[in-house]
């Protein structure tokens, strides 16, 4: 049986790791974005997400009670200790795929963080209220870009259809409730992720239809990220790059 503290810690890792892993992936666009304006926008998004990571992981470290910091959790854990969605750790691929992933995640983040604002846990509510403003802007930007590119040229449409086909099997993991979610829901900290599913489907369907894209006709969900049981092979490579400085020079600061 999981203690309330352990469930809260796992919940906070999921929140923090989602932001951290997508933040790092998004930061990989810095300097190689398709146009200057998009490059800067992506860097801003990455910074928003890293800022959210700091809040979630600092609280996670406090709940863990082992005297660690947000930095320790970010840079000194191995892949199997990460609790992010698989969707967020797969490589960026092309710009269309990255923006599709962002859009599918934002469509979840907005209703999810909206609900979390009324969490019984005041710190969770506060971090969510702050993050929601950023998520709303990310959603506006990512959904509009998906629509522009999907309903764009024949070539951009083909890229976006391939992107949604690629991302789709990973997206379902967002709504796979488990024992941590049950415990957190019972404590009034967060709703069950599955309760957000219909809102998400509605939002995504409306964007895909405006983008003239076909929603993949499958409910199959790749799982194993948010419980850490089976990450993709990509997370280890990403962490190797992200963590190399702290691994090589432990405790380095600037």
């Amino acid at each position: 049986m999981m203690t309330a503290n352990e469930a809260l810690f796992q919940f906070l890792l999921r929140q923090g790791d989602n932001a951290l892993v997508l933040g790092h992936r998004t930061s990989q666009w810095c300097g190689v974005g398709p146009v200057l304006e998009e490059d800067i926008a992506l860097a801003n998004t990455a910074l928003d997400l890293i800022g959210q990571t700091q809040l979630w992981l600092a609280y996670a470290a406090e709940v863990q009670g082992e005297g660690k910091s947000a930095n320790d959790l970010a840079f000194l854990r191995d892949a199997y200790d990460f609790r992010n969605l698989l969707l967020l750790e797969v490589p960026n691929g092309n710009f269309g795929q990255a923006i599709m992933r962002q859009c599918l995640f934002d469509a979840f983040q907005v209703p999810w963080l909206t609900e979390l604002q009324t969490s019984s846990n005041q710190q969770v509510a506060d971090i969510s209220a702050k993050s929601l403003k950023e998520a709303l802007y990310h959603w506006e930007r990512s959904s509009e870009t998906v629509i522009s590119l999907g309903d764009g040229t024949e070539e951009s449409h083909a890229y976006m259809q391939a992107a949604v086909d690629f991302c789709w099997p990973y997206a379902g993991e967002m709504f796979c409730d488990d024992a941590v979610d049950e415990a957190i829901n019972t404590a009034g900290i967060a709703p069950l992720p599955s309760s957000i599913r219909q809102t998400w489907i509605d939002q995504v369907e409306s964007v895909l239809s405006e983008a003239t894209l076909t929603k993949p006709n499958s409910d199959f969900a790749q799982r194993g990220g948010r419980d850490g049981i089976r990450h993709t092979e990509h997370l280890g490579h990403m962490l190797a790059t992200m963590q190399v400085l702290q691994r090589s020079f432990p405790g380095a600061t600037w």
Partner: protein, 96 residues
């Protein structure tokens, strides 16, 4: 990519605080006005620079020609009486 395939250029104006006027801060590329505002938000207001944005497609701005500067501006140079520098402005008036 040929120039005709590129997004149009937009001039960006930001109002720094309420009561001030919009000021030109630079330009950027965007496919339409809405995206120009979003891009301007990301490119020019990252450090809390503004409370309002205007975007104007650059082709809609008519500019005076540098070769006309004699006839346009020189006549104003020797008309010192047009400058309201002989008035004392009370502090309460604030920024003018």
């Amino acid at each position: 990519m040929s120039a005709s395939n590129e997004w149009p250029l937009w001039e960006i104006f930001i109002r720094g605080q309420h009561g001030m006027s919009h000021r030109h801060v630079g330009s950027l590329h965007a496919p339409d006005a809405e995206r120009a505002i979003k891009n301007a938000r990301d490119v020019y207001t990252r450090r809390n620079e503004g409370v309002s944005l205007w975007v104007v497609e650059a082709k809609h701005i008519s500019a005076s020609s540098p070769s006309d500067k004699g006839p346009l501006y020189d006549p104003a140079k020797d008309k010192i009486y047009r400058h309201p520098t002989f008035y004392d402005i009370p502090d309460e008036v604030g920024k003018m």
